[in-house]
């Protein structure tokens, strides 16, 4: 079956969608179709990809307006009665065609305080952790850094507040460190001031697009928001903190 694709092609004026037709067969994913178009009609079409298994996070794009991994979007999941549109991620500057510059994410990540373990539990320099304690942060470690959550987040996408709001990916990264049973670093003040957690208005779009099904909003962002509320917005809690030690 021939399917029409409208793929973003950049040019000196910015760019536009360009129509391509290609044959779709059973089992194909969108990335296969893009590669086929590249081979048949547009040798200079730029597309970033690597593993084709949903684990490298390279082939992020917007398929019919929805941020998705091209390698994990089967053609039978996409309506083909109308042209299938493929845009680059809107939240980041375009390098060429479907390739965007996501380096802002690496700069933001560098600002987050690193893992700082407590003193070793045993004389041989090792630690003891309960599996149930580490289970909580294990979910966050599934992140493949595809940045689809950053792309769909309206704070970054519509308002370009990359410098003020770290975004969902970095909230997940911070949560993985902050909730780690060995970690003793304090990132609460940074969450409020540097990472701008207050900009998140919990619309859960990040959770919706995550290909690893990380419950970003409920398990990472909201618990971090609550920790910020403990420290900065809850007078009762501040009073009780005078009598309790940090766990």
């Amino acid at each position: 079956m021939k399917v029409t694709f409208q793929i973003w092609r950049s040019d000196s004026n910015g760019g536009q969608l360009k129509d391509y037709q290609t044959e779709i067969t059973e089992g194909m994913v969108v990335l296969d179709a893009v590669h086929q178009i590249q081979a048949e009609h547009a040798n200079d079409l730029a597309v970033r990809w690597n593993c084709k298994a949903g684990k490298c996070g390279s082939c992020s794009a917007e398929i019919n307006g929805r941020p998705r991994l091209m390698c994990m979007t089967r053609m039978d999941q996409v309506p083909v009665d109308k042209p299938v549109t493929i845009h680059p991620m809107k939240a980041f500057p375009i390098i060429k065609d479907l390739v965007t510059d996501v380096s802002v994410n690496y700069r933001v990540k560098k600002r987050i305080k690193k893992f700082k373990p407590r003193k070793p539990d045993a004389a041989d320099g090792t630690w003891r952790m309960a599996q149930s304690d580490i289970d909580r942060v294990q979910e966050f470690r599934k992140c493949i850094e595809c940045f689809l959550c950053q792309d769909v987040c309206h704070v970054l996408r519509e308002h370009d507040l990359h410098e003020k709001f770290a975004g969902p990916r970095h909230m997940v990264y911070t949560a993985a460190l902050e909730m780690h049973p060995l970690d003793v670093e304090d990132r609460t003040e940074d969450l409020k001031k540097q990472e701008g957690i207050g900009f998140c208005n919990i619309t859960k779009c990040c959770t919706t697009v995550c290909p690893e099904k990380i419950t970003i909003t409920d398990n990472a962002i909201i618990p971090l928001k609550e920790r910020v509320a403990d420290r900065f917005y809850d007078p009762l809690f501040r009073f009780f903190r005078l009598f309790t030690k940090k766990n």
């Binding site: 929805r66 304690d133 769909v152 902050e178 780690h180 208005n201 779009c205 909003t217 609550e226």
Partner: protein, 260 residues
């Protein structure tokens, strides 16, 4: 990388459907609850008390704690027992993490839906006044927990009917008993599935294995939390239906069938 304009999107699905349903659902509830709160009558029937009026701190029904309308109530303001208490559960829902995300989309188009352009170019989020006040949520949670117990007591009272012959209270079950019991259960599930509750009960700690009781409670709260949105909607609908039920029975339009 800039604001793309209201409604601008490449999405081809019915992205406006969900926000519209939320707008209609929440909007209908707000209109009905406001109307019902100002009525000040037909809010009880014998041992049944509408949850919109519970607890009845001051009021004209036998359920009132401290008697009739207080003398200090300004004459220019209409009086209804519901006006004294509805701010608390209303505040709980208004500041609830789930509802916030839902009404920011449906009522404020911030954004209208995921990946859809917004009407405004500026954005402050919950980082500054007024939305920074949403952090008061946990205080409304404390009040909501109190309300859960009060509504559970109402459900208990709804099992005790006055015998017309002897004037004594006897145990019984009416349809209204089930209505109020389901109401208390759903509100309990909504309250104890709250993100703030989950945090305070255990999420605040990184090594919960050292506190087995809190670990169990945290696991229970986490389990409920996964269905928080469902509980939010079911409890919202049912609390409204409970008021409708008591109101229509009190007006004689519906009959409360007694099972025994």
């Amino acid at each position: 990388m800039i604001n793309s304009g209201f409604g601008n999107t490449a999405r081809k699905d019915l992205w406006w459907g969900r926000p519209l349903v939320v707008f209609l659902g929440l909007g209908s509830f707000i209109v009905y609850a406001t109307w019902a709160a100002f009525q000040g009558q037909h809010y009880f029937l014998g041992n049944y008390l509408s949850p919109f009026y519970s607890p009845e701190i001051f009021g004209g029904s036998p359920h009132s704690w401290f008697g009739d309308k207080p003398l200090w109530w300004p004459l220019v303001l209409p009086f209804s027992p519901a006006l004294l208490i509805l701010w608390a559960p209303g505040g709980m829902r208004f500041t609830c993490y789930y509802y916030r995300g839902a009404y920011y989309k449906s009522f404020w188009a911030d954004p209208p839906a995921c990946g859809v352009g917004e009407p405004r170019k500026t954005y402050w989020g919950e980082n500054s006044f007024p939305l920074i006040l949403q952090n008061v949520h946990r205080y409304f949670l404390y009040l909501a927990i109190l309300f859960v117990f009060l509504l559970a007591y109402d459900a208990w009272k709804a099992m005790w009917f006055t015998d017309a012959a002897t004037g004594k209270e006897i145990f019984g079950l009416g349809i209204g008993t089930f209505v109020l019991a389901i109401n208390a259960t759903l509100l309990g599930c909504y309250t104890f599935s709250c993100h703030s509750f989950r945090h305070l009960i255990g999420g605040i700690k990184d090594r919960l294995s050292q506190a087995p009781v809190r670990k169990k409670l945290y696991d229970c709260a986490s389990c409920l939390n996964r269905k928080h949105m469902n509980f939010a909607w079911f409890s919202l609908f049912w609390v409204m239906f409970s008021d409708v039920y008591v109101r229509l029975c009190s007006m004689g339009i519906w009959t409360d069938w007694r099972i025994f």
